[in-house]
Amino acid sequence: MTPNATLVAPNGDLAIAGSMNELSTMNAHTMQNLLLGLRSQLNLVLLGKPLVVEHLLACVLARGHVLFDDLPGLGKTTLAKALAVAIGGKFMRVQCTPDLMPSDVTGFNILNQKNREFEFRSGPVFSDVLLTDEINRATPRTQSALFEAMAERQVTIDGEARMLSSTFLVLATQNPVESLGAYPLPEAQLDRFAMKLRIGYPDRKNELELLARSSRSLAETSAIQVLQAGQLEQLQKSVTAIAVELPVQEYLVSLAEATRSNRSFLLGVSPRGLLQWQRVAQSRAMLHGRDFVTPDDVQDVAVPVLSVRLGGQAGSIDTAIDSVLNSVPVPIP
């Protein structure tokens, strides 16, 4: 991370960022600028998908992990790399296969012949952004090792607990088409993800621009670092300052009750899921520059948050969530 980080504003002007003392609290204006910068960088990389970028950032700020359920070649890796660069973190990637071992993910102790001591070789989890491709191909044992790392932000290897990065973020992907030779994630584990995103094909205009861009240069578009060290933590902490008043909380609880009584879902929303939903709604409010949560935020993130944890038929999830949203009245005081 360079000491003098520059901030790229949307209109292209350069501005000098604040002081290097990350421990000083940032005011709201600075935070908004940083968030704006993050957003613009990611939008540069992933053309024409502002909603996906917004949801991803909301998840990042809420300290949640993301599951991408998408066809191959849509830009997931590019997005993950750009995110890692933008937040100033380390990027690692794991390709899950059925013979992937847990120690391949977490790391292992290896005997150093010279010292006759065990040395720890860290695994991919010791990074800031971990892209796990085709997580449904890994064996359940490997999956559980990863989930433990996601949940507790620490790994235990040979009895020794090692802490992961405080802003450790997992972006897992799975292919919805190929299901042969796969170990589908059980619902209980799916609950650990904050949201499920679907990128989808770009539309015509953006695809043309993508082609134009690629035809001109060999290098892929890359992002610029926006956040300094520790700034992401501060941003994540300041998400808790976003006010959630009683009407909105009651709205959330009513929605949760509605999902639990709806027949199209296998499970309702669990309290853990509800907490994550609230957190994601708070980050979305922060992304929009507000310091309070409105039902709009709750509704907007409902589909990503709910679709990861409510089991049911794949095609009808969206309509089911729609009917849940239709059935609960918005609190209008």
């Binding site: 006010a243 008043e245 009407p247 909105v248 509605a258 009584s261 709806n262 027949r263 507000r290 310091d291 309070f292 949560v293 409105t294 039902p295 709009d296 509704q299 009917s323 949203l325 239709n326 059935s327 609960v328 009245p329 918005v330 609190p331 209008i332 005081p333």
Partner: protein, 794 residues
């Protein structure tokens, strides 16, 4: 399916109200016509409304249906002179038709609810005002339907969020409950049937007359009628076996006593200058002769005001009634007539031999009863169907019988001798062989109703009533007496008459038939003079008619005198008549009788027309005499009446109808503008309060224009659509407003207040733009829309 159920509900409610009107109405024909028309129109509308785009047509048919009872009542009262329907019934009828129409054309859920509320109100009104069996049945049926309708609405509403749970039926309990219920009901019915219905009547709750030791003499509709039906001597209300009791004596007051009690004693002018020179004996004789003139052959129109005296109570009854009438009311019943008028007094000439021109009385046995045929009338002027009534004389001592004006037959129980009845000299039915009609006699009468349409038609030869020379030769000799006017006053009076007729009809008298001129006189007196029983004529007046014109108010005999005299100047024979007016106010529904009390003594006039004496009623407050019309005649006269009313006050009617029309069409905008006006005060309040008020205004606007938002739309989503309509707002102002509303709803209070304080000025601009919108819309192009577009803003 929903529309059908709403329509059925409204039909049931309309049926209930129709029943109510039927029982209280005295003109069933127009009632049935009206309701059939509205029913047909509603059914037609119900079938066609869904596919039709011509909303204006439906609106106009609907308003016609709603106004129909009012127009009908107007025609009845103005044209036919009937008392018409009670005002409350007219309004309920208008509401009934409005409810029916509304249910036929309702297209969305809110209109269905309105129609449901209207039908329920009609049903509640019905059950509260009537306890007939039919009404109770209708209300029960309505209740069942209404419950079903409400349930279906409820299910529709919760259908979306409702998740069917698995339920396990507890069959055992259900069968058990049903079997217990069946056993209990079987037991109860067995007990009830075995003991007979007598024991099942509750002690002390219902009046009985026999078998229990306590009896109510006035019991009716009980197990047996009370004592009085058996004895029927002392109670005045029964018409039963008393029919055979012809020979009871009584000290009932005579007609003269009644007249004196009611109208006061006449002034007797002492002719002082002449008696002074006479000796005492002749003086006494003169006085006696003035005394003897006081029998009821003269009627002076100059009287003292009425004093409060208690009339003498007839023996054996505790009712003050003069007689009881079973028959059509209101009814004019004649007792005495007078022909000579000298400006002050009406009197009956001695040589008026009307009775010699009457037919001999013969017996016509009909249905086993010895009806006496008395008179026949020319069929062009009377309706051939005879109506029947019964008079029970209670408190009147007079030789004459009270008769309706076109009496044809009469009989008194089993009396089959024609010479029992006779005629007085002025053509009134009497009992010549007795002193007076016995108390509690029951007299049955048949009479006919005049049919006057021919008299109003200028092309009909019957419409010429005036006594020309030719006609006078063909008429009886005594006609001349009925044509004499007040000497020296006839010129002035005839010009007054012409003025009066022109005043009433509103145009010159050239196109009018004779009968219409008579109606003009009657109408003029009814509308321009006030009936004031205490405004008597002072003693020294010589010409009561002129005095009446000056004073413009007086008792009913002044009205009758004036009318009779004015008609005489036209050349039509007329006379003044005293008798009784049976009023519908005293009609007793339970017994079906009308009491005629001494204060119903009344004076009116009669007009001679082609051999028939037709009654006219110039006093306001009393109903016009009944007249018969066929449907065709009715329709023609309705049309003419409506045309005349509109013709005379066109601008008034036009203004009223146009403004009502505009009010109905623009109801939404007017509501919107009113509400926008009411939030103006928010400009002085703090910004937060103003924003809240404006939010309420916007919510009401949505409700007025029937814009529904799905439940999932948030404030921001709803406002983006609504604020687009407000011209003059830029995007940043709109966002500011939306943010303000969001803050007020979902942000912590303290931060909101400080934020609002910063942005007060901008917020006020936005609030003003939103308020202004409500008034700008008022003058946009009108849209005839029954269906409002339901916008769903997302």
């Amino acid at each position: 399916m929903d529309r059908l159920s709403t329509f059925v509900l409204a039909l049931i409610a309309a049926l209930g109200v129709h029943l109510l009107r039927m029982h209280a109405s005295n003109d069933l024909l127009s009632l049935w016509l009206e309701s059939t028309f509205v029913l047909a129109a509603s059914c037609f509308a119900w079938f066609r409304i869904a596919n039709s785009k011509r909303d204006f047509l439906w609106l106009s048919i609907g308003s016609l249906c709603v106004c129909l009872p009012f127009m009908n009542s107007l025609v009845q009262v103005r044209l036919l002179g009937r008392p018409g329907e009670a005002n409350e019934l007219v309004w309920i009828a208008m509401l009934q038709y409005a409810a029916l129409w509304q249910s036929a054309i309702c297209l969305n859920s809110r209109q269905e609810w309105t129609s449901f509320l209207l039908s329920s109100f009609l049903m509640i009104f019905g059950i509260a005002t009537s306890d007939r069996e039919g009404m109770i049945v209708i209300v029960v049926v309505y209740g069942v339907f209404a419950a079903w309708w409400l349930m279906s609405r409820y299910w529709q509403r919760i259908e979306k969020g409702f998740v069917a749970a698995d339920s396990v039926p507890l069959v055992r309990l259900r069968i058990g409950a049903v079997s217990i219920a069946v056993l209990l009901s079987g037991l109860i019915s067995a007990i009830a049937m075995s003991t007979g219905s007598r024991l099942s009547s509750l002690d002390g709750f219902m009046p009985t007359s026999g078998g229990r030791g306590d009896s109510d003499p006035a019991a009716r509709n009980g197990i047996g009628d009370g004592d009085m039906l058996v004895a029927a001597k002392d109670q005045a209300y029964t018409f039963g076996p008393v029919e055979s009791d012809l020979f009871l004596d009584s000290k009932t007051p005579s007609l003269y006593d009644l007249i004196s009690d009611l109208y006061g004693e006449p002034f007797v002018r002492r002719e002082q200058t002449r008696t002074i020179s006479l000796d005492s004996k002749t003086q006494e004789a003169k006085e006696e002769s003035t005394e003897s003139k006081k029998s009821s052959r003269e009627f002076s129109a100059v009287r003292r005001p009425k004093e409060q005296t208690i009339p003498a109570k007839p023996k054996g009854t505790d009712s003050r009634a003069v007689f009881h009438l079973i028959g059509r009311v209101p009814q004019h019943l004649r007792l005495e007539t007078f022909d000579c008028f000298d400006g002050v007094s009406w009197s009956q000439s001695d040589d008026l031999l009307l009775h010699q021109d009457m037919m001999p009385i013969a017996i016509d046995t009909m249905q086993g009863k010895p009806w006496m045929r008395l008179q026949l009338y020319p069929p062009e002027l009377v309706h051939r169907v005879r109506e029947r009534q019964t008079v029970k004389v209670i408190g009147l001592k007079s030789l004459r019988l009270v008769t309706p004006s076109l009496l044809t037959h009469t009989y008194i129980d089993k009396v089959d001798q024609p010479d029992f009845f006779g005629w007085t000299m002025d053509g009134q039915l009497s009992m010549p062989n007795r002193d007076h009609v016995p108390q509690l006699s029951v007299v049955h009468q048949m009479y006919q109703t005049p049919q006057l349409h021919a008299l109003r038609d200028p092309s009909n030869p019957l419409s010429q009533i005036v006594m020309t020379e030719v006609r006078r030769e063909r008429s009886p000799i005594w006609i001349a007496k009925y044509l004499q006017s007040i000497p020296g006053y006839s010129e002035a009076l005839s010009s007054r008459t012409r003025e009066a007729i022109a005043n009433h009809w509103g145009h010159s008298i050239d196109g009018l038939t004779d009968w219409q001129k008579i109606e003009g006189v009657v109408g003029f007196l009814r509308n321009n003079f006030k009936h004031e029983p205490t405004a008597t004529v002072p003693a020294e007046c010589n010409n009561v008619v002129e005095h009446f014109f000056q004073r413009k108010q007086g008792p009913d005999y002044l009205f009758a005198s004036t009318a009779a005299t004015m008609i005489r100047t036209m050349g039509v024979p007329s006379r003044m008549v005293t008798g009784f007016y049976a009023s519908p106010d005293h009609y007793d529904l339970k017994s079906g009788q009308t009491e005629v009390l001494p204060e119903h003594l009344h004076t009116w006039a009669e007009v001679y027309c082609h051999g028939v004496w037709l009654a006219i009623e110039p006093t306001p407050g009393y109903a016009l005499p009944n007249e018969f019309r066929t449907w065709n005649q009715y329709a023609i006269e309705c049309a003419w009446t409506i045309r005349d009313s509109l013709y005379h006050k066109p601008i008034g009617y036009l203004i009223i109808s146009l403004s009502l029309f505009a009010l109905v069409l623009g109801r939404r905008r007017i509501a919107d503008a009113t509400l926008s006006f009411m939030v103006l005060g928010g400009a002085l309040a703090p910004a937060g309060l103003q924003v809240r008020w404006i939010q309420r205004l916007l919510e009401y606007r949505c409700w007025i224009y029937s814009r529904k938002h799905p439940t999932r739309t948030t404030i921001a989503q709803r406002l983006t659509g609504q604020l687009d309509e407000c011209v003059g707002l830029i995007a940043s102002e709109r966002d500011l407003y939306i943010q303000a509303v969001n803050r007020l709803a979902y942000a912590p209070h303290i931060k909101t207040i400080s934020w609002l304080r910063e942005h007060t000025a901008d917020l006020r601009i936005v609030c003003w733009a939103i308020t202004k919108r409500g008034w700008l819309d008022l003058f946009a192009r009108p849209k005839f829309a029954l269906r409002s577009k339901t916008e769903t803003t997302t």
